[in-house]
Symmetry: D3
Subunit: 67 residues, 6 copies
């Protein structure tokens, strides 16, 4: 039962339900194809954080997006 945690910034209102479905299906297929297990048991969690709470190279994504 592999576990896959996705963390990303919440942008443009955040990922749509359809996008989340596609991410969950896509990630699970990749794992099952490569490892030959997990197709029925893989757990995927998706977490979206606002851009104030996400930093890259010492700056918030909020500020980076302004550049």
């Amino acid at each position: 039962m592999p576990i896959l945690n996705l963390t990303m910034t919440k942008e443009d209102g955040g990922a749509t339900p359809e996008q989340k479905k596609a991410l969950i299906a896509g990630f699970t297929n990749v794992f099952a194809d490569v490892m030959g297990r997990g197709a029925k048991t893989m757990v995927v969690t998706i977490q979206e954080l606002d851009t104030d709470s996400y930093g890259i190279g010492g700056e918030t994504v909020t500020d980076l997006r302004k550049k």
Copy 2:
């Protein structure tokens, strides 16, 4: 200072404050009983994600609940 992170789906409005108290106390007791330490220092975090953001076997829990 052991750390215990619980991630689960937010269902039926999510876990109540009483349930969270019981989970935190229960998990801490189990650790202290088994390991003989941590009763005063264990940190427990509880995170609830909506069922669109939680996948099992390639499908969202939202869709699985519809079956």
Copy 3:
């Protein structure tokens, strides 16, 4: 399918297989008792880090244990 990640210091050679079994069973029972679900599906991971890689209040656990 709730997920529970335990992170702790590796001390005295680390937790024994029996202790890990007891932690996994105990945590799962607590969750199932409190939330009424997860008894068959809960995923628990246990991670042990050496005391150099674990800090509390600005000091490594290695140094704290020397006090």
Copy 4:
């Protein structure tokens, strides 16, 4: 590309955008100074949980704050 995940209780309305900026910049500087890399690539995420969802020594932070 080191990753730093900060988890803390959300208190007094939570960390302000300015505090989050200072945390992201400060953490990144510490890493770059000590390890000599990561100044441009470090990823920092900040997650705030309510005090009901955060336990220390078997009690919720909500209850601990009442003492």
Copy 5:
């Protein structure tokens, strides 16, 4: 800069370097295809735990594999 953490059991000696390459490439492609970003910046970490340290439904994967 999305972050994807994969945690799985270490079985049959663990994932090979080629499998890890395929997982990293595959996951990143899925994200970029679905979200239209992250192809150059996605961070993927892969963590393998021994089957004693991994529980499902209250039992260790070590014991489950014996059934």
Copy 6:
């Protein structure tokens, strides 16, 4: 009791005990300075993964280092 998890690649034999001390002390000071709490209670964990198990932009760090 804030929690800070650092994940990075293990390079050149990995971070030395002195570097880990400096990271733990430095991160804790930054948090205490900015948030006015946590100086005595902050928990920091440091996790180093080999470069095969770490991907950026779809490639392993092992391959990126060869370029």
